[in-house]
Amino acid sequence: MKILVIEDEPEMQETLVRSLQQEQYLVETACDYESALEKVGLYAYDCILLDINLPGGSGLEILEELKKQQKTEGVIIVSARNSVDDKIQGLELGADDYLPKPFHMAELHARVKSVLRRRKFEGQHLHQLQNVQIDPDKHQVWVAGQELVLNRKEFDILLYLVTNKDRLVSKTALAEHVWGDYIDQADNYEFIYSQIKNLRKKLKDHAAELEIQAIYGIGYKLVTA
């Protein structure tokens, strides 16, 4: 999988690249409008992370250019502006997603994978991890061919952790992903723990070869048993 990171802030770019490389993607970078335009013109990517404020031009113009060239790259706009107008305009110009800064890496990976899945497999893709199979569209889970019934929250947690397998997912990232942005400011995330507990029990009862580890003080990590 080839990913292009268009980001002018060097530190931000470096962090994104490192985190994406850990997912075994091939990552290329562009740090201004000109070089970004050149790269999208010359090469094909599976996914593009696009910052809107770029030296020399706007990320939205790059979107327009992609549309003109009838390129089918999945584009996720990553912007510090968090403006509704940018979001609407970006999505209208063909971007797949809009992720306002700051974000959690786990969220970025989930979004990237969702874009790749939709682009590459036209939605016909099941997650297979050890003996666990997940259908993100039908919200179904099978363990060794046997269906595992989960409620909506449990399913969302499992899918999110599976998407970020072997990676540390912070409580906040998980809470915001599963319960929505409104969750911020909640004075504690203890209510998450009861859902995790139920999920763990169900996985164990079905002898799933997955384990949800609690990383004390930060969050959770899903590892294969």
Binding site: S19, V84, M105, F191, S194, Y216, G217
Partner: protein, 420 residues
């Protein structure tokens, strides 16, 4: 008291003094003139009677006034010697008035055919009390007339002169910093008003500029903070999963991340507030509140369950408001979140929705919050560390934007009322 009437009241007092003084002088002078003229008349009559007596001696026999205006009786030489004309005021019974009335009396002595006679001549006098009364009435009318003229003059002329001033007053009265629109200046030829206009205009512009700057500062600062926050958070995430770390180190990283996340929330809330205040949410549509309340409650379901909060919803009628859907969601969400976060384990949450108002009541600390500060930015109780202290400010800002009244009161529970 209005400026014009204020001036008039001073005029009225001044006029009263001036007119009273003038009236006294006028009265004394007039009376003097009247006496002078009456005495002249008596003098003339005296000469006429003496002349008449020279021709007709019966005149000398007029001993009483009766139908005449004089009486004469003979006096001795000794008595007559050295007598001068004497003018006196006295009273005499008048048949027509049936009362004693003041008369002017001239007592004089003359010689006729070597004999001396004393003659008394009378003529009717002005009635001073009547005169004073007449004068008083006239003056009262004059005074009222003058006051009326001043009032008319003030209202027509002065009002016109002061028009630019009142225009400036109205401008200031209707001036709203956040709306940043100034009423156009009215042209005037009066130097003072021109100066006032210029000064006010400059002051308003400076204020608007300062306000805009401050708003822009908050928005820009919030924007500028996003990137470093993002970098810090993401770098910490990388660090946390970089290599086997000890639990102690992970704890530290977790604590830093939590604080950065709090900073991020704070930043987002500030940005949202300034966007609301800058009226950047323009698009509006009909939003169904009962649906929104149900949806928001569903979102909070797990937290409510975790805290064992009992929820009562009373929303029988459909309430539809014309507003920005994101802001409507933000309003309901922040109200309910506030009621949830500050709730106690096993507490209650009551929501009453009608066409008039949305009322959210919740259990919590058993003491009222400070009504005046509850909607202020960064007002929060010491116990709720994670809260940004901006949720209710956002509620207030949205209510202000749409002209809703939001109030807080405490009775059994904490109650927030949004009146539409």
């Amino acid at each position: 008291m209005k400026l014009l009437n204020y001036a008039t009241s001073y005029f009225a007092a001044l006029l009263l003094v001036v007119i009273s003084g003038w009236a006294a002088l006028f009265y004394i002078n007039m009376l003097d003139e009247i006496y002078d003229s009456i005495d002249d008349g008596l003098e003339n009559q005296k000469l006429l009677v003496i002349q008449k007596a020279a021709q007709d001696s019966t005149v000398l026999a007029q001993a009483e006034f009766e139908e005449g205006y004089y009486k004469i009786h003979e006096v001795s030489l000794a008595w007559a010697r050295g007598k001068k004309d004497l003018y006196q005021d006295t009273l005499m019974y008048m048949q027509n008035e049936k009362d004693f009335e003041p008369v002017r009396l001239l007592t004089t002595v003359f010689r006729h055919n070597g004999r001396y006679y004393e003659m008394r001549l009378i003529t009717s006098m002005v009635e001073e009390d009547d005169l004073i009364e007449d004068l008083l009435y006239s003056l009262l009318w004059l005074y009222l007339g003058l006051i009326a003229s001043i009032l008319v003059l003030n209202n027509l002329l002065l009002k016109r002169i002061w028009k630019p001033f009142y225009h400036i007053l109205r401008r200031l009265q209707h001036f709203k910093l956040e709306e940043a629109k100034t009423v156009p200046v009215q042209k005037t030829n009066i130097a003072e008003f021109q100066l006032l206009n210029q000064t006010v205009e400059k002051l308003l512009q400076q204020n608007v500029a300062a306000y805009q700057n401050q708003k822009a500062l908050i928005e820009n600062a919030s924007h500028e903070l996003q990137t470093p926050l993002a970098i810090s958070l993401n770098k910490l995430e990388l660090l946390a999963e970089s290599q086997p770390l000890q639990e102690e180190q992970l704890m530290q990283i977790g604590a830093v991340m939590e604080n950065l996340e709090r900073l991020t929330r704070l930043n987002k809330s500030l940005l949202l507030l300034s966007k609301i205040e800058n009226r950047q949410f323009t698009q509006a549509e009909a939003v169904s509140l009962p649906n929104l309340v149900q949806k928001t409650l569903a979102d909070f379901e797990d937290q409510l369950k975790y805290k064992a909060v009992s929820v009562e919803v009373e929303a029988t009628e459909e309430v539809s408001l014309q507003m920005n859907p994101d802001l409507a969601a933000m309003l309901v969400m922040n109200l309910l979140k506030n009621a949830l976060v500050h709730n106690v384990k096993g507490g209650f949450l009551r929501i009453r929705l009608s066409r008039e108002a949305l009322v959210v009541e919740n259990a919590g600390k058993e003491e009222p919050l400070e009504e005046t500060k509850v909607f202020a930015r960064f007002y929060k109780d010491a116990s709720s560390q994670a809260s940004t202290g901006l949720g209710l400010s956002i509620v207030k800002a949205i209510c202000d934007l749409y002209g809703f009244q939001v109030t807080y009161r405490y009775q059994q529970g904490h109650t927030f009322i949004v009146a539409f």
